[in-house]
């Protein structure tokens, strides 16, 4: 049928909506709650259009296209309406960064989001790089909010396997509810409550597991904000490379989109829109492949030990010894997790090079268990996985293991060779009906691991065989006549384990998958749950006495540390370690009581270590606290001192304000926060100051803007300010310093680089001040802000970002919380 959109004549297919028709004709209409695999919902109201003959502003996603319809998608009224609607949506979503006056500058200075616990702005949101809402806000020119926004203060849900949920970011588009219904046929999650209390949740407050969640991850895939996140992948932003491949955890051979950043696999998602993946396909692959104890280098046994060697040596030594065992006293065991190409070469090797008929290929059972016993009389064997009992292995004279993870077999092998598997290799596999499916390399294998066909080919060549000079999996496919492998993108039925995670495989190549992917241990198999008590020993002298979340993501922690409290002076800091394996992290002293022997820290959860700290409870003990460190701030009567503070700085300036006041200064304290609900310590600061000002980025309270804006207002009004002290994130301090420069006011900033020893030895906290190199721990932390190289500070602070991201993903239950959380009343 023919209709007109924005004056353009277009054709629509029967059953299409106006939105679909527009999209096909390259007319873009903003939309948030639509999704290609879901039927229209009409909740976000962004896709409103004008249609002749229809009252009001119908949503194009729900309106069927009709013959001779006249549609307008881009009028002034529509733009205004959409902007106003988006502004309303943004009243219940941390939106200060969208309307910030220094947004561009901030994006330039720090393009990557920081890893906060509770997201309170784009800059600490895991969705920042891929967020549709941000794009919409830009397109529509959203500049301010009509009334102060609301932060619901819903508790973060981070203790369920694989998925983190922050309901404070949810915009109630309903996509997650709808996809769960569509993919799983049931509403594990649904809209709960009414009016302002409306939220997404499970019936009767059950946990996801109790509510029947199969952890297929489809909800995470469709969430337009950072509300639902893949815990392992969430901080990687936009993936650099996406490869289409097949899952080989079982023989359902689901088609996958594998995303990698750097060389590491970070996430796997379904290629097929209409059916979900099972928990293994969706969540287990990256963690499995990135495990810390992967075999990464060839090892050869020398006496009692396995010695690491180069490939050359490993191959040569193995070939030499293996030549002694040709004939039927050699057996080779592999299973279906090796590609067809690998198995072709393995078989060829067994028969042509080893001249043995004992090529054993195991078809794993329903759980993925591949087990066999070696033929009687076997003296040498090559295993590609953990397939054989130790008892059998003891009878061997020579054992080669090429595998991905260490096993009892690899521990007793004469040659343990690291194999590249799964998403690290190209090849072909068979699905349950015998169809060929392609496996495509999506990431680099760890260390020196190599594809199996490569290892065997080199071995064969070293043994003098011909016909093994393969350089790629493709050349093997050709020789073996393996062709016509197609991704299974049109499957109509979900794999059984996607709808019932009890049915999933538990073994891969002889390895228990849940030993490498801890989250799986919380999920039942066969109706029983593998509960795991994890005892975390907490030994230390520094007990947490009090803990309080002052504002979203801002935690006040009072710790017993008498020696520190005795000596602390304004401007100093401590370094702490939560446990013996923790990172050493510096935190400013926001308060101390020499009499009671306590110190107070205000901590923002911004990554691995702060998360560990924040998840502790009262009475837990910290392993180490050292301090007070740093040069105390110079306190004298300067006249008028202005303290500019943001984030943790608001607490940090409290002792400084007090000391400055006692020294006779006129003290002005200006605290900034993204929004009204992020301010704290108002009464406390007011007590120590002559003037106390609050600013908010979104204008929801106090002056609109950053602290520096209130300060420059005073300076330009001619007010005399003798010294400015800025404490906050580097961006805030940089901006403050840049703008006080013009007024010639001495400005100090409290620098916060990464630190290690804190006593001037290691150099981790180097900063450039003027042309000189200084150590923040013994020369600082306060420096002349006009002389600091802010870019360098930023770069040095981000030096280990990649490692931190990966560690965040690996340490699922980072804190003391034991894995055995659920009470097993789940319907599994």
């Amino acid at each position: 049928m023919k209709l007109t959109i924005d004056g353009k004549s277009v054709t629509a297919k029967k059953g299409q909506t106006v939105l679909e028709c527009a999209k096909e004709n390259n007319i873009s209409i903003p939309n948030l709650c639509t999704h290609s695999s879901l039927s229209p919902f009409g909740a976000c109201r962004m896709c409103v259009v004008e249609i002749d003959g229809m009252r009001g502003y119908p949503t194009s996603c729900t309106t069927p296209a009709a013959e001779a319809m006249v549609v307008r998608t881009d009028t002034e009224e529509l733009r205004n309406l959409r902007r106003n609607i988006l502004a309303l949506i943004m009243l219940e979503h941390p939106s200060a960064c969208l309307v910030c006056g220094r947004r561009e500058l901030c994006e330039q200075f720090r393009p990557d989001a920081e890893r906060a616990g509770s997201t309170t702005g784009c800059h600490t949101c895991n969705n920042k790089e891929v967020c549709d809402v941000r794009v919409l806000a830009d397109d529509l020119g959203l500049k301010d909010l009509p009334v102060p926004p609301v932060y619901h203060e819903r508790p973060l849900e981070r203790s369920e396997p694989f998925m983190d949920r922050d309901l404070n970011l949810c915009i109630l588009c309903g996509r997650c509810v709808r996809i769960c219904k569509y993919h799983q046929g049931k509403s594990v999650i649904d809209f709960v409550g009414r009016g302002s209390e409306t939220r997404i949740g499970q019936a009767f407050g059950r946990s996801l597991l109790e509510a029947g969640c199969q952890f297929c991850g489809s909800c995470v895939d469709v969430c337009p904000t950072g509300s639902l996140a893949d815990r392992y992948a969430k901080w990687h932003g936009r993936a650099e490379d996406v490869t289409e491949s097949t899952c080989i955890f079982c023989d359902q051979a689901c088609a996958l989109a594998l995303a990698a950043a750097g060389d590491k696999l970070i996430t796997a998602q379904a290629l097929n829109e209409s059916v979900p993946l099972c928990v293994l396909g969706r969540f287990a692959i990256p963690e499995f492949l990135n495990g810390g104890d992967r075999l990464v280098a060839p090892h050869i046994r020398v006496g009692e030990v396995l010695r690491q060697v180069e490939w050359q040596e490993a191959i040569e030594m193995t070939a030499l010894k293996l030549s002694e065992f040709t004939g039927d006293n050699f057996a080779l065991v592999c299973d279906a997790t090796s590609t067809l190409e690998d198995r072709y070469v393995l078989k060829k090797f067994t028969s042509e090079v080893m001249k043995s008929k004992n090529y054993i290929e195991i078809e794993p059972d329903a759980r993925g268990v591949s087990r066999c016993s070696l033929p009687k009389g076997t003296k040498a064997a090559l295993l590609t996985g953990n397939f054989v009992d130790t008892a059998d292995l003891e009878k061997l004279e020579f054992l080669i293991v090429q595998d991905c993870y260490p096993t009892p077999a690899s521990e007793r092998a004469n040659a343990a060779l690291p194999a590249a598997v799964f998403a690290e290799v190209d090849g072909t596999v068979l699905d349950l009906s015998g169809q060929k499916r392609p496996l495509r390399k999506a990431c680099e294998p760890p260390g020196l691991a190599k594809p199996e066909w490569w290892i065997i080919s080199r071995l064969a060549q070293a043994m003098g065989a011909k016909g093994f000079d393969y350089e790629s999996a493709g050349s093997i496919s050709q020789e073996a006549g393996i062709a016509d492998a197609g991704l299974w993108i049109d499957r109509e039925e979900a794999p059984p384990a996607a709808l019932n995670l009890n049915l999933r495989r538990t073994y891969f190549r002889g390895h228990r998958i849940d030993e490498k992917v801890r989250g799986l241990r919380e999920l039942p198999v066969d109706g029983t749950c593998a509960l795991d008590e994890v005892e975390v020993k907490r030994e230390g002298a520094f007990q947490i006495l009090r803990k309080n979340e002052l504002a979203p993501n801002v935690h006040e922690i009072v710790i017993s540390a008498p020696e520190v409290a005795k000596k602390a002076l304004p401007g100093q800091f401590i370094i702490l370690m939560v446990d013996e394996q923790s990172e050493r992290v510096p935190y400013t002293l926001s308060g101390w009581d020499a009499e009671k022997g306590t110190i107070t820290l205000v901590v923002l959860e911004k990554g691995q270590s702060s998360r560990k700290l924040v998840l502790l409870d009262v009475n837990d003990k910290l392993a180490h606290v050292v301090g007070p460190l740093g040069v105390p701030l110079e306190i004298e009567n300067y006249g008028t001192v202005a303290l500019a503070a943001g984030c943790y700085g608001i607490a940090a300036i409290a002792p400084i304000a007090k000391a400055m006041k006692e020294a006779g200064n006129r003290v002005i304290a200006i605290s900034e926060a993204r929004s009204h609900y992020l301010h704290y310590y108002k009464d406390k600061l007011r007590d120590f100051c002559d003037q106390f000002i609050q600013t908010t980025i979104d204008g929801s309270m106090g002056i609109k803007g950053h602290a520096i804006d209130a300060l420059t207002q005073k300076l330009s009004d001619g007010e005399k300010i003798d010294r400015v002290i800025a404490v906050g994130c580097p961006f805030m301090m940089m901006v403050t310093a840049n703008e006080t420069r013009a007024y010639g006011v001495k400005t100090l900033a409290a620098l916060n680089p990464i630190m290690l020893d804190g006593t001037g030895m290691c150099g981790a906290c180097r900063v450039s001040v003027g042309e000189k190199m200084k150590f923040a721990c013994v020369d600082g932390p306060f420096f002349d802000a006009h002389l600091i190289d802010w870019d360098e500070l930023r770069d040095r602070r981000a030096a280990y970002s990649a490692e931190e991201i990966h560690s965040l993903g690996r340490t699922e239950s980072v804190a003391a919380a034991p894995l055995s959380r659920h009470k097993c009343s789940c319907p599994h």
Binding site: P40, G42, A43, C44, R45, V48, G56, Y57, P58, T59, T62, T63, P64, L81, N84, I85, L88, I89, L91, E92, P146, V147, P148, V150, I171, L172, G174, D190, F191, G193, R194, G195, S196, E197, T198
Partner: protein, 644 residues
């Protein structure tokens, strides 16, 4: 009709006649929910107890709402040989008094009599229908309410019950549709959509399976039209459903009744089983080939489930969240089949139209809006109640003549119609005829019939705030304009009512209101800003006074009111201090007392406690000062007078 039904009709008529001519006294006690709220249960208990104890030969029948609710409890007394008398404001003692002195004696107890209900003269008692409240009403839809026993189907049958349906069976569905079309019946749920047109869409829709739903959710606060009709005359609604179902070719119907109406649900259940017994429900009704059955579905406490698509979701067992339209329910509704949803009162009109003909029906009403409409008259009005007038009747007639105007000599300020979706019509517009078009032009909607009268002591900012807090709490949460927009508007109104408003707030309010109106998915959101928009349109100066002068001229917004004691008037009796719940008042005996502004919570107890001869407590709002407070309820006063 079948011969058995014919016989039943004859029997019913006989029974009814016998009741009319009853030798023994009959007490018709108005015991619907409104009557019970006024104390009818105690009256029944007292009466029945007395009759039993004294072995009096008398009948007691519980009837529905007669209409004049401010006079409840109402009892119509039938004494053989005399016209029936309707007594008002009857308590458990008064009814015994009447029994002893009038029924068993000669004194008609005129001081409690509202009027005579049947022909005949009784000294000192006028005709009930000449009562100022009743005179201008045309009670067609409500013709049986308060007069018949709603649980006795013979009463309904005797008064032409089910004749309309039988007529429809006779003339066939096409002609029935024509009748409804000619009658110009428009949906009484609020939208005023032509009923015949909705039926036409459904009839034209493809498919054999279709549904009919009666929307008895009645969620508007202050609305009780549908409840009263169901409690007082359930068969009228059910007959209407039969007529509609027959015309539409529907064989399964639902009545979605809110769970907060247990008596109405009970009446419906009783009526349904009576219908089945009479062969008026089920397979092949009266041998016509038309089969129809009804299921009652209870609501679960959500205002939004009064919206068509949310109601459908609720019946289907899903969460009551509306769906965008198209598709319209008439084409794809319940279980994705063509569905017609009608309001209780719309259905109640159908038997009248079919029985009396479209021509009869159109004699009432205005050009665009035919027929009569019931209104729940409440608020600052002398005579509250359930009234029925021809559409096109002016507001002045309803408020001044029927309602008796604003009590206590206060000035009328506005009339709020249409509940939380409606708007306020200012006093200057009392000549407005009440029909769909005229009200829409004035920026309001008729809604389902709620009509709340406001006087000079009503604060329009507070009224808007009240309705908005309702819609905000009832918003289903699906779309942001409604869910967030109502909260945003409410936060501004609360700021203004707390004395923290700014002039820029008014523009913001209007802008958000526009967004909510234009962006919301369903009628709840689209109409939620109406109370704000109409009060801003007609009473902007009140908003401005709150903001610029820091005062609430109606003395309602408690944050802008402070309580004080006039030292010149205070005698130090201590009455106020004794009732103060927070001990904010201090002073020596016989010396002027003082209220601590820091402790005072503005509950107003002191104002009520101060003896009127001193009237020392006064309120201040900005620069305004007010001494007096509203008097006690008129009814309480009246009863006190009458019993002595």
């Amino acid at each position: 009709m079948t011969s058995s039904l014919q016989q039943i009709f004859a029997e019913a008529k006989t029974k009814w006649r016998r009741l009319q001519e009853s030798e023994i006294p009959v007490f018709f006690v108005g015991a619907a929910t409104c009557g019970r709220a006024a104390g009818a249960a105690e009256v029944l208990q007292s009466l029945r107890g007395h009759i039993k104890a004294k072995k009096v030969k008398a009948r007691v029948i519980e009837v529905g709402c007669l209409g004049p609710c401010s006079f409840e409890p109402l009892v119509i007394v039938h004494k053989s040989g005399a016209p029936r008398v309707c007594y008002a404001n009857i308590g458990p003692d008064e009814i015994i008094h009447i029994l002893e002195n009038y029924v068993l004696g000669d004194d008609p107890c005129t001081k409690w009599a509202l009027g005579t209900m049947t022909p005949g003269q009784l000294d000192g008692i006028k005709d009930f229908n000449e009562h100022p409240m009743m005179r201008r009403q045309v009670r067609n839809i409500l013709r049986n309410c308060g007069l018949i026993d709603p649980e006795n189907v013979h009463h309904y049958l005797a008064r032409e019950g089910y004749r309309g349906f039988l007529k429809a069976l006779e003339i066939g569905p096409d002609e029935t549709l024509e009748q409804v079309k000619s009658a110009g019946l428009r949906g009484r749920g609020g939208a005023g959509f032509p009923t015949w047109r909705k039926w036409q869409f459904c009839r034209d829709a493809a498919g054999k399976t279709k549904y009919l739903i009666c929307n008895a959710d009645e969620g508007d606060p202050g609305a009780f039209m549908n409840r009263s009709l169901i409690e007082g005359d359930p068969h009228a609604v059910l007959e209407g459903m039969l007529i509609a179902a027959f015309t539409l070719g529907v064989s399964q119907g639902y009545i979605y009744c809110r769970a907060e109406y247990p008596l109405a649900i009970h009446r419906l259940e009783t009526a349904l089983s009576q219908m089945r017994e009479l062969g008026l429900l089920g397979e092949n009704i009266q041998g016509s080939g038309f089969s129809f059955d009804l299921t009652i579905k209870k609501g679960a406490g959500a205002f939004v489930c009064g919206e068509e698509t949310a109601l459908i979701a609720s019946i289907e067992g899903r969460r009551g969240m509306p769906q965008p339209r198209p598709p319209f329910p008439a084409v794809s509704g319940l279980f994705e089949k063509p569905t017609v949803i009608q309001n209780v009162e719309t259905l109640g009109n159908l038997p009248l139209i079919l029985r009396n003909g479209a021509g009869w029906y159109t004699q009432y009403g205005s050009d665009s809006s035919k027929g009569t409409k019931t209104f729940a008259l409440a608020g600052k009005i002398e005579r509250t109640g359930l009234v029925e007038v021809p559409l096109g009747t002016t507001l002045a007639t309803i408020i001044e003549q029927i309602g008796g105007g604003v009590p206590d000599g206060k000035a009328l300020k506005a009339v709020q119609t249409g509940g939380p979706s409606g708007g306020c019509i200012p006093a200057e517009k009392m000549d407005l005829p009440v029909d769909y078009e005229a009200l829409a032009e004035a920026g309001c909607i008729m809604g389902s019939g709620g009509m709340i009268v406001l006087d000079e002591d009503s604060c329009m900012v507070d009224i808007a705030r009240y309705f908005l807090s309702f819609t905000q709490a009832e918003s289903c949460g699906k779309c942001s304009p409604c869910r967030v927009g109502t909260r945003a508007m409410l936060s501004i109104l609360e700021r203004i009512a707390a004395g923290e408003g700014q002039m820029a707030d008014l523009e913001k309010l209007e802008q958000i209101a526009r967004t909510v109106k234009d962006g919301s998915l369903c009628g709840l959101g689209q109409t939620a800003p109406n109370p704000v928009l109409t009060t801003l349109r007609y009473f902007r100066d009140e908003y401005v006074e709150h903001i610029e002068k820091g005062r609430c001229p109606a003395f309602v917004c408690s944050a802008m009111i402070s309580y004080h004691i006039d030292r010149d008037r205070c005698s130090g009796c201590g009455a106020c201090a004794r009732v103060c719940p927070v001990e904010a008042i201090s002073g020596e005996k016989k010396k002027p007392h003082v209220i601590s502004q820091e402790i005072c919570i503005r509950c107003g107890a002191c104002l009520g406690a101060c003896p009127s001869r001193f009237a020392a407590v006064y309120r201040r709002s900005g620069e305004l000062i007010r001494y007096e407070q509203r008097k006690n309820s008129r009814k309480q006063q009246k009863n006190k007078d009458q019993l002595t």
